[in-house]
């Protein structure tokens, strides 16, 4: 059986009912021709509600997202995007959750470490290389680079 990619609309309907007030407006890319993946399959959530939405996605019987594939962060100069790729091994479907952080200083997101242990190293990596810290992570320190390293090298202004 082949896994199904859930559409953003389906997800928005369920998450909007389960966690009221957690959805963010859809941020469109500044172009008309965008790949399908960038639009139809994404659920945008407010950055402050990431952990609540994640908890709902994991515990809801119909969604049942038990596996966190990856967490990625992208630097867009004026804002940052954090992308969660999720899979449900029981229900055989996948989803993409995105959130947006404005500004460049003192960025932080709620950690999903307590829901998925797999977030441990990935959240530390994002802190190390992108400079977004995760509140609630028990061991929020650098992972690839050494303590005392100056700056976050994957940011666009790091040369």
């Amino acid at each position: 059986m082949v896994v199904l990619q859930l559409s953003g609309e389906d997800l928005a309907e369920k998450v909007g009912a389960g966690v009221p007030g957690s959805l963010a407006t859809v941020f469109e890319k500044p172009t008309e021709q965008i790949s399908e993946l960038a639009t139809n399959h994404v659920l945008w959530v407010k950055s402050s509600r990431v952990a609540d939405v994640a908890s709902f996605l994991q515990s809801d019987a119909g969604l049942d997202f038990d596996f966190l594939n990856s967490i990625s962060a992208v630097d867009y100069i004026n804002h940052f995007e954090v992308i969660y790729h999720l899979t449900s091994m029981n229900k055989q479907h996948t989803a993409i959750i995105k959130t947006r952080l404005e500004g460049r200083e003192e960025l932080s997101l709620p950690s999903v470490y307590h829901l998925w242990r797999g977030a441990d190293f990935q959240e530390r990596e994002i802190w190390d290389l992108m400079g977004i810290s995760f509140t609630g992570h028990p061991n929020m320190k650098r992972i690839m680079l050494w303590e005392g390293f100056d700056g976050h090298p994957l940011r666009k202004d790091y040369l």
Binding site: I34, S35, A38, N69, D75, Q92, W116, D120, I143, P153
Partner: protein, 361 residues
Amino acid sequence: MTVNIGPQHPSTHGVFRLRVTFDGEEILEVEPIFGYLHRGTEKLAEERNYTQIVTLTDRLDYVSSMINNQAYCLAVEDLMGVEVPMRAKYLRTLTAELQRVASHLMGLGFFMQDLGTLGTPLMYSFRSREKILDLFEMLCGARITLSYMRPGGVFFDAPEDFWPALDQFLEDFETEFAEIEQLILENEIVMVRTRGVSILPLDMAINASVSGPVLRASGSEWDWRKKAPYDAYDRMEFDVPTATSGDNYDRFWVRMQEIHQSIRIVKQCVEQIEPGPTRAKVPLIIRPKPGAEAYGRVEASKGELAFYLVSDGGISPYRMKVRSPSLINLTVTEHLLVGWKLADMIVTLGSLDINMGEVDR
């Protein structure tokens, strides 16, 4: 007592360090420390064009370059909406499976080395691995850093003398691998040292995002080749071997069974492949549409390997993120090691089959 194992310790499979607190020989606390091989692959990719990045992916998991190339190329093709010719799909599937065999052989050899076998099983598995590298040399001239796959297909069609050489390899490998199996699979010392040691329960494995043979040894049958078939896998018949107890023995048993399945896939590719073009028409300098995103995912020899690409319309990706299975499989080290003895620690690390090039990137 706190001891640092590594970063230059030979059994850590690269520059990897474990800070371990012992009580006598028993492990009380473990902290994995890495980053010694961090080369900033993701940052380097932002400065290179899409074709050049293929060479960077070789250097991630350097014992399975072919599969890294495949994951990256799938992501770029998704970004551009390119359809790969059928012959190229078969060549990719075939070489990726040969690479999986090579990678698992290496994993097995070093696992046995970690058990203290002083070289014999390692040399047995290297004997076969060398022949696979010879085949790769016929395809692309390189043995380790292959860069054989390119966005849109493969670099060259296989030369004529590749096919008889592959047949010869498949014939020899059957007896060679049977020898390895006979040597280690029912070896009493292997059984005693690995059965029931460092058990990983299935719920823990899923929660910690563990993937690949490590996950399947704990009882899940999750394999992206089956769940989201790419290249020619939808035309292949193969089983996904799983075990139930999730101990060190199961982890290496699953790898041995996967070798059989990979050979099965290679044979089907040889039967089914038909003449045709091996590369789609792709511009020399690739410029995907601005705002396009892709998540290219494969079942690599270590687990789920994925490239997340974001384009801004330029000649190089705006962002390339590598989802590395070796790094994420290490999440469970602490759980696996605490309570066991020093001698088991080395074996457990070998059973996870990590590659530092991929952990540190």
